[in-house]
Assembly symmetry: C2
């Protein structure tokens, strides 16, 4: 029989065959995380956690360089705090883990039952807004105490019925920034400054091109005056909201009683901001860069930049090959790539070469090297790049490889960004009529972003969401701000906005 | 009147006047942490959290250098997991936060009430032993998967009735290491290796001299085969257990079903270890080094090594002084101290010089510099060291200060260790009779560590604990292991052990 065999991919199904299942299999193949015995909670495995640590380190440096300091606030929120918030926030999320007891007692037959009921139930923080507000209310007394720029790295819990690793889990890890300022304009500027930091991080570290802009009223954080976001296009052409920055005006300061004496001795409510990103970023990174062979890591966040696989089975003296790989690794580690030492894994496990190689492909390491006795003789390495086909391998003189490693990593980083940007641009369309718009978003396998004029009416956005599961992802900052005509009503429109389906 | 005024101290009361209250006031004076509106939980303020970050960074580097990788496991533990543990662990701690509902509903009059009862209550992790065990059971299949060396940085909750900032709080931050090995001896060696890392960290980074040794049966971690600890003497001569390392044999592997196929193809239970330190270390650091003027930070962990206070009120051109301070700070920051850039704060706040100076004394910064117009003219700095009297200040040529800063910090670090070691040694006594022992520990203002022979009988240790609140802190590793006669019974004793009151 001469039927051509199907092309083999390391991940099955492929993106085209079953996108959601492909996503789960990429995570499994890269050994990033797994579901836990606790409903909706994930175990972040070492490779996934190392990626999160690199994300944290990069963001933390940017937060600190812009004057923020980290602090830590309690895991629990008294119910009364949330009641206060519920009073003035309609969209208050009520799905959360509630602690009602503080002891376990034997319940007979080896069982344990909750005992010691709490006078006031406690909620596991879904966000620390209210408890941080209570601290700010004490810490801020005078204009001299402002600006107060605080960040927290923490776990938070939101009870979710349908969960997906990294994208939506009951417990997740995040950072939440909270700042208080002496003026409206300063707080407003700070909100945009943090948005810029998020955009810079997504573009330059994650190689994930993002659009920045303001949310419409319907998508605004409850209680905020303005909500800004970074939005990225995933490979199924849906939008992922990857980070938000909120200008809260004096709303939260009033709820939490954050007042200060200004320079004239007048008592005023502070202006506050809040902003956050979470382990959801890892979901975004996967869906931006992974392919049908698995994860692809941008070098600036990769837990390892290079993996070296010694090929010893044909070697007369396997220890010579191992020694050669060790010294190569040491030489590479002495170099720095964007402030971090080049990180090298040596995989000397007793495993078939093919299997070993595919494991590292699926883990997404930017550069794979095979080094056997013949490479050693030639003083060269056999190199493969994760951003190229797994079959493309080239022999490179060792000295040249060492000399060019930083340039190579930069090239991979930039190439990944360019490819993702080209994908987004080729799937972003200017659409000017309702018919075209509905057609664009009705095809299952198509879609993307539509740049369409609209009259800024929340009711209209609600109808479109209801019809198509499509919403305004943001009112883009980068825009020529040309006015126009709403595609749906013919009414005037201040500028085109970005529409899309979203996670 | 010529009565000599009482010596002023920055912290009131002094250690001698009221030690527990002094401790709280040091924390307040250094702005490390404060009690929160949530019973038993603390807010760790930026200065305290920066200290914790430095502790984390140093330990994390040592964990990674010894082959460990970080991971993250769920905050919640299903009740059934704890029931399993309770079955075989008598000392199972039952004071914990129990989540019983997953929603809040309006309860009328703006109130919220718990709703959505869980089928199986969840416990907020008091430790992750059981949930990590469940993962290990999946991850470990073959001897090739071993050793498995995992660490987690996380928050944990143990319901405590009487809490003290850092020393005992309902929620605290910690790291818990969990490892699985293919042999008894490898796991046993690993337990001691981690003990060494803790001791190295306490001695070299915290400048807190610790004794290392094994716990007696009475103080052993429930379920462990052997528990080792680091123990430090606080300034009230009580012991603080600052870290523990447990050899668990196959006990936990059996409970969690962690089995592997060994090289002969036989199915065997793994041998496991666990070890942890927590934010309690900060309590230990305070009680080792702080004095009646407040916190004193060991340079290797200090969030800032140097604070520069520009004195501008007499300057013709204040901006020149500020400029001078900025350039000095830049020059200092370019140097590294034990792998970290020298961290410099410039305090240009509009505040009286005396008040400003005392704030930094209380915060414990190793070196304070005042720079006014006259210092600038002489190209010198006016320097004070936190490890010396606040009145001892000296003018030092700027170039010399910059040249010698690293040496100076090392000298301070070593001096702090030496002083703490001398204190412990002068309060550690060889005691050979029961009468002397009871007298030693009965005086309120005295006490310390007693090196006393004992017959290793738990019942006797229980009686002594009951009589004097004194326990065996550890069976010291460093010992000449001379045998002797139990001071309480006259029976044979294998070696002297360390007795003391403890936190």
């Amino acid at each position: 029989m001469s039927t051509k065999p199907k092309q083999r991919t390391a991940i099955s199904p492929t993106r085209a065959e079953d996108y959601p299942e492909w996503y789960q299999q990429v995570i499994r193949g890269a050994d990033l995380a797994e579901v836990s015995p606790v409903r909706g909670c994930m175990v972040i495995k070492p490779w996934g956690y190392a990626l999160w640590e690199n994300i944290q380190r990069a963001l933390d440096e940017m937060f600190k360089a812009s004057g923020h300091r980290n602090a830590y606030f309690p895991l629990f929120i008294p119910l009364s705090f949330l009641e206060k918030e519920a009073e003035h926030v309609d969209g208050f999320a009520k799905e959360c883990a509630v602690v009602t007891h503080h002891r376990l007692e034997e319940g007979g037959e080896g069982g344990l039952v909750p005992a010691g009921p709490l006078e006031e139930p406690l909620v596991v923080r879904p966000t620390s807004e209210t408890i941080i507000g209570a601290s700010f209310s004490k810490w801020v007394q005078s204009y001299r105490d402002l600006p107060l720029l605080i960040n927290q790295w923490a776990n938070v819990v939101r009870w979710e019925m349908r969960t997906r690793l990294f994208l939506r889990t009951a417990e997740f890890l995040w950072q939440e920034g909270h700042t208080a300022h002496a003026s409206d304009s300063e707080a407003s500027d700070h909100t945009l400054r943090m948005l810029d930091i998020y955009a810079k991080f997504a573009n330059e570290f994650m190689a994930m091109p993002v659009l920045t802009g303001e949310k419409t009223e319907a998508e605004r954080f409850p209680g905020a005056v303005r909500t800004y976001c970074i939005e990225a296009m995933m490979q199924d052409r849906k939008a992922l909201q990857a980070g938000t920055s909120h200008f809260l005006g004096q709303n939260f300061a009033k709820a939490s009683d954050i007042q200060f004496l200004d320079e004239n001795g007048d008592r005023t409510y502070a202006w506050t901001t809040s902003w956050g990103v979470s382990t959801r970023l890892i979901g975004g990174l996967i869906m931006t860069h992974a392919d049908d062979d698995g994860l692809m890591l941008p070098p600036r966040l990769a837990p390892a930049h290079v993996v070296i696989m010694p090929i010893t089975f044909k070697a007369e003296k396997p220890e010579d090959v191992e020694q050669y790989c060790q010294s190569l690794a040491e030489e590479l580690r002495q170099q720095t790539y964007h402030g971090r030492h080049i990180e090298v894994e040596i995989d000397g496990r007793d495993l078939r070469g093919g299997e070993k190689n595919w494991q590292w492909v699926k883990k997404g390491v930017p550069i794979r090297l095979e080094v056997g006795p013949r490479d050693m003789e030639k003083d060269s390495v056999f190199m493969a790049r994760r951003d190229q086909s797994a079959k493309e391998k080239a022999s490179v003189p060792r000295a040249q490889f060492v000399l060019e490693i930083v340039k190579l990593l930069d090239e991979i980083q930039q190439g990944m960004f360019d490819r993702a940007l080209a994908f987004r641009e080729s799937n972003t369309h200017v659409i000017d009529t309702k018919e075209e718009f509905y057609e664009f978003f009705s095809k299952e396998a198509e879609g993307g972003f539509a740049l369409t004029h609209y009259n800024a009416d929340p009711a209209l956005e609600g109808k479109i969401k209801n019809d198509l599961q499509v919403t305004v992802r943001c009112i883009p900052q980068e825009s020529n701000h040309e006015t126009g005509t709403c595609a749906f009503t013919g009414e005037p429109s201040p500028q085109r906005v970005i529409w899309g389906k979203s996670y």
